[in-house]
């Protein structure tokens, strides 16, 4: 797995304004945030609070209107489009609410794509790594299936495999269980917990307190501002219910 000893994601005074609306919508209003190496950070907030926008701004998918984002000391806002793409390819992984796969590739090729792109000459190593990942997340038997032939849970696990295929430093997850039933959600969250346990830094946006309880720390956004932050400590199955209750109570304090 990746070396996360020095991995730090840090943003300062981050703002994002969308000018397409009238008047322009200021979705992020000066957010300061630090994600520690190996941390599982959960971003919560009501709809429209700016949590997904924060995720996309710190992952370089969107350019912030102002402020800075540093990944392992590298200023992402100063990078060109091509340089930023290279960072996403080699240092970041993404999991979305919908699987978002390429329909004309089978499951394995979808997962393999970033690995092959990152290291075109190391095909065999990439295949071995991807096959191991698929084995690990229990989707080896559907590796040659089309994306329309597998369940939502399998698809989301495939999504996790794809995010891990190029051994990223940080993994971004935007509502990864939003489209799944509770049993599938648990499967996916178990997988993420597993990945986190092996040292990967995770930043996850969710509405679901049960999922959020898996994180080390939860931050709460309201109207584009970071309202509060709560340390949850390391996850353990034994204290899950108590942890979820405490988190829910904290969230309710903030009007959740």
């Amino acid at each position: 797995m990746s070396n996360t000893i020095n991995a730090t994601l840090e943003c300062q005074n981050l703002t994002k304004t969308f000018n397409a609306t009238d008047p322009p919508a200021k979705v992020l209003n000066g957010v300061d945030l630090t994600v520690k190496d190996g941390e599982f950070l959960v971003v919560m907030g009501a709809s429209g609070s700016g949590k997904s926008t924060l995720l996309y701004c710190i992952s370089g998918m969107d350019r912030p209107t102002s402020g800075s984002v540093h990944l392992q000391g590298q200023d992402l806002t100063s990078l060109s489009d091509t340089e930023m793409s290279q960072v996403r390819l080699t240092q970041m992984g993404f999991i979305f609410q919908q699987g978002y796969f390429l329909g004309n590739l089978n499951i394995r090729d979808n997962i393999l794509l970033p690995a092959l792109k990152a290291a075109p000459r190391a095909t065999d190593a990439a295949i071995e790594r991807v096959d191991n990942l698929m084995e690990r997340f229990g989707i080896a038997e559907v590796r040659l299936h089309g994306i329309t032939e597998v369940s939502g849970g399998q698809l989301q696990r495939a999504s996790i495999c794809r995010a891990l295929a190029s051994e990223p430093t940080v993994l971004f997850a935007d509502e990864p269980t939003g489209a799944l039933n509770s049993s599938m959600s648990t499967d996916v969250m178990d997988s993420l917990t597993d990945i986190h346990a092996s040292g990967t830094t995770i930043v996850m946006v969710t509405h679901d307190p049960v999922c959020a309880a898996r994180g080390d720390r939860v931050i709460y956004l309201r109207d584009g501002l970071l309202l509060d932050s709560r340390e949850l400590g390391a996850w353990s199955e034994a204290h899950a219910t108590k942890r979820e209750d405490e988190l829910l109570a904290w969230l309710r304090e903030h009007g959740f």
């Binding site: 969308f18 397409a20 997904s52 926008t53 996309y56 998918m61 969107d62 350019r63 489009d81 091509t82 930023m84 793409s85 290279q86 996403r88 390819l89 080699t90 970041m92 993404f94 979305f96 978002y100 796969f101 390429l102 329909g103 004309n104 590739l105 089978n106 090729d109 393999l112 794509l113 970033p114 092959l116 792109k117 990152a118 075109p120 000459r121 095909t123 990439a126 295949i127 040659l144 299936h145 089309g146 994306i147 329309t148 032939e149 794809r162 190029s166």
Partner: protein, 803 residues
């Protein structure tokens, strides 16, 4: 209420999809513009020709003749044919263009008509029919010293009323003042090989007595019933004693020739517009389907609140109806302007076409056809709205029902199982993804190669026709060998002496080689109504100088026929034919050795192997020029030394004879080139605009994975380039094979004497320049659209939003 809903919906859509709607409107304007212009040019041309035919009363049958003739025989023939309403013998004097000069006393400008190769015939106004008509539509009768000049010359030489015309005769110059310009129903067409000048009876008498002009006559007949013309023609042809040393022309031929030369422009426009309408329809179908797919959730909501499918499709239909109507209106107005420009020469050469209900009806009908076809196609595509299921639309954003979704998923899965990214080689990942995309979405991308194939076809066909008719090798379609010079000696009293003199001087000339001598001899052959005249060119064909489409060159005892003669007598290579010189002469049987194509002399010619004897009706001599010699200079010198002969460089002969066709094809080629490239560019942009909208999520995924905007753009550009190249290639092959066949079939039906047209393309132009321009246009469209992919907010792509 309903109307305002339709209006609001249409207006909002117009604002939201400005680019797509404007491009679609341009396409509709182009299609309707060309369709209406084609229809209007045709209507105006036919109207102008008919107006002139009404005013000028051309003969229903005419026979030209040079030399002596039996006046009594003509009287007897007329008496024996009660179907003749009236008839006349028009006496004419032929002058070479070089012997007629013009000057403008007011400015001192002057010149002559030597650059015109057609015969200049001086005539007097007829009394009963076949009138020469002036600009006002009146029948002018010049006074002594006045001349009316053909309008063709007015245009070519910029002549004005009041200019002086001088005709050089054997007894000195005779001067005339230009009193006006006349239009000629018989000889108005640019296809005609002669033109008529009108002078007074006194001046005609003076010119005849002065000498220097070639006397010629036309026996002209008007019949009580035009359906009797073919029978009448056969009777005339089979009567031995009647004069027939010249071309015979029927009323139908006058009509066809007049309509053909300028009708070609209209036909070319209709061809271009037909293809454009097809392209517009294909594109509209793509746009409507795309719009329905894009707005499937809105359609789902409308269905959910209880709006019937008909009302929903009505929303779309109303928008496209208004756009088509607008396209037709703008196209129609532009067509009026274009038609005025395109019919300028037709209206001048013929008559002002009268304005009648048909003037408006014809273009309106053409526009109505465009409108109805477009709307019918819209209705067909919008039928898909009925099939949209509410749940499918709202939940999955899909136009497909459950069954279709399952089928599609299966198809997609089957294809995905067949892919193997890792083993697909170590080529560029972007290229591999683009190819996989193309395979998976072939039905969508098909539009581009189809449009480019059609655009290539559109551009290449008129260009190939132009280069074919302009090629020096085209003489092989004119029954003539490829050579540098052609000398014509028409019948006159001293033609044999002139022929011998010219031939010996050409043979002795070091600058000339391959001097080939042919005599035009009149034979007779049995036709439907007895013996008919057959014009035969006699000479040595052993050198393989003429191209044959069937059989070979004639040898001893053999004859080769032109396509039209072979058709007329139902003969092919190997058949036998009876010939005789004249009544009372022995009949000989010759074998048809081969068939060749000929567009000269009305396409009815024959070639026989034999010695060039004296006493022929005319002679033709071909010669090649030595390396470095200027054919034009040599021709000029021979013309000056031999006043009876017309010597011209072959290229000039081809150019002037076919000028009417090449002009039409050049206009069509330019028009098709501009429209073809414009449409190709427009449709690439339109297609990509819609395609990229629908590929936003995919682009978002690729971006998240680590593909840069530049790479995503390169995938799109590669897909466009590949489909454009394939389309252009297919179009080029299609044009060279099916296109050639189609055009050949159309030309052979035109009765020009060409049975098989092989294109003589300019390979650099049609296989390199045109394809490259088209491909560049397509690629430029792709670049223009993909440049915008560098958005700072790529997450919007994932959400299917436009940035």
């Amino acid at each position: 209420m309903k109307r305002s809903l339709y209006f609001r919906y249409g207006y909002n859509d117009l604002i939201r999809n400005k680019g797509v709607n404007v491009a679609l409107l341009i396409l509709l304007v182009m299609s309707s513009f060309l369709m209406a212009t084609g229809a209007m040019v045709m209507e105006r041309s036919v109207g102008a020709v008919n107006a002139l035919l009404d005013e000028a009363k051309p003969p229903h049958f005419l026979q030209m003749h040079k030399g002596d003739y039996d006046r009594e025989a003509l009287d007897t023939f007329a008496t024996a044919h009660p179907e003749i309403e009236s008839w006349l013998i028009e006496e004419m004097l032929g002058f070479d263009g070089g012997t007629i000069s013009w000057s403008r006393p007011s400015s001192g400008e002057f010149g002559d008509f030597s650059s015109s190769l057609i015969d200049n015939l001086v005539v007097t106004q007829n009394d009963d029919f076949d009138f020469l008509i002036d600009g006002a539509g009146a029948i002018p009768r010049p006074s002594t010293g006045e001349v009316y000049v053909p309008v063709g010359y007015q245009q070519s030489f910029a002549l004005q009323i009041g200019d002086e015309i001088t005709i050089r005769t054997d007894s000195g110059n005779q001067d005339f003042t230009v009193r006006g310009f006349v239009r000629d129903s018989q000889m108005a067409s640019s296809l005609s090989s002669a033109t008529r000048f009108l002078v007074s009876d006194t001046d005609f008498q003076n010119l005849t007595e002065a000498g220097g002009g070639d006397p010629e006559i036309i026996a002209e007949y008007r019949l009580s019933d035009t359906s009797l013309i073919p029978k009448f023609e056969r009777s005339y042809e089979s009567d031995d004693v009647l004069p027939k040393n010249g071309q015979a022309v029927t009323f139908q031929m006058i009509q066809i020739i007049n309509a053909f030369s300028d009708g070609l422009v209209a036909l070319a426009l209709v061809f271009v517009s037909g293809l454009l309408v097809v392209i517009a329809l294909l594109n509209l179908r793509f746009v409507i389907r795309g719009t329905v797919e894009d707005e499937v959730r809105e359609i789902g909501v409308m269905k959910a609140i209880g709006l019937p499918s008909k009302a929903i499709s009505g929303l779309f239909l109303a928008k496209y109806s208004v756009m088509t109507l607008l396209g037709c209106a703008i196209g129609g107005v532009l067509a009026v302007v274009a038609t005025q420009f395109l019919t300028q020469s037709v209206q001048a050469n013929y008559a002002q076409a009268p304005l009648g209900p048909q003037t408006v009806l014809v273009p309106v009908l053409a526009l109505l056809v465009v409108y109805l076809i477009v709307i019918a196609m819209c209705r067909g595509v919008l039928r898909g709205v009925r099939k949209v299921e509410v749940v499918s639309a709202l939940v999955h954003g899909s136009t497909l029902d459950e069954k279709q979704t399952a089928r599609r998923a299966k198809r997609l899965a089957r294809r995905a199982r067949g892919t193997n990214l890792a083993s697909a080689g170590r080529g560029n990942m972007n290229t591999r993804l683009a190819l996989l995309d193309l395979r998976a979405e072939a039905s969508q991308w098909l539009l581009i190669p189809v449009v480019f194939a059609l655009a290539t076809f559109l551009i290449v066909i008129p260009t190939n026709l132009l280069t074919t008719f302009e090629s020096p090798r085209f003489v092989t379609y004119m029954g003539a060998p490829e050579s540098a010079l052609r000398a014509d000696l028409q019948f006159s009293d001293d033609v044999d002496a002139a022929h011998q003199q010219l031939l010996s001087s050409m043979r002795a000339d070091d600058r000339l080689s391959q001097v080939r001598d042919y005599a035009n001899v009149l034979y007779e052959t049995p036709g439907e109504e007895g013996w008919e005249t057959l014009r035969v060119e006699v000479g040595d064909y052993s050198a393989g100088t003429v191209a044959f489409i069937g059989g070979r060159a004639p040898q001893e005892g053999e004859i080769a026929l032109s396509v039209l003669n072979a058709d007329q007598y139902q003969l092919s290579a190997g058949d036998e034919m009876s010939l005789r010189h004249g009544k009372g002469d022995a009949t000989e049987t010759v074998v048809i050795s081969g068939i060749y194509q000929d567009v000269t002399s009305g396409g009815h010619t024959a070639k026989m192997n034999g010695d060039v004897i004296s006493g022929a009706t005319g002679y033709v001599i071909y010669a090649d020029t030595a390396e470095g010699a200027d054919p034009a200079a040599i021709a000029r010198q021979y013309n000056d030394d031999n006043p009876v002969a017309t010597v011209i460089p072959m290229q000039e002969y081809v150019k002037q004879t076919l000028d009417y066709v090449t002009t039409a094809f050049r206009n069509a080629a330019i028009l098709a080139g501009i429209f073809g490239v414009g449409v190709a560019l427009l449709i690439t942009i339109l297609f990509l605009k819609l395609r990229l909208t629908r590929e936003r999520t995919k682009m978002g995924v690729l971006s998240a994975i680590g593909f840069s905007s530049r790479e995503i753009a390169s995938q799109v550009r590669f897909k466009v380039l590949l489909t454009v190249v394939v389309g252009t290639l297919v179009g080029s092959i299609f044009a060279a094979t099916v296109g050639e066949w189609l055009v050949g079939a159309a030309i052979s039906q035109a009765g020009l004497g060409i049975a098989r047209l092989d294109f003589i393309p300019n390979p650099w132009l049609v296989y390199l320049a045109h394809p490259l321009i088209l491909i560049a246009a397509g690629y430029a469209g792709a670049v223009a659209l993909t440049v915008r992919l560098r958005t700072p907010n790529k997450s919007a792509w994932l959400k299917g939003r436009q940035e």
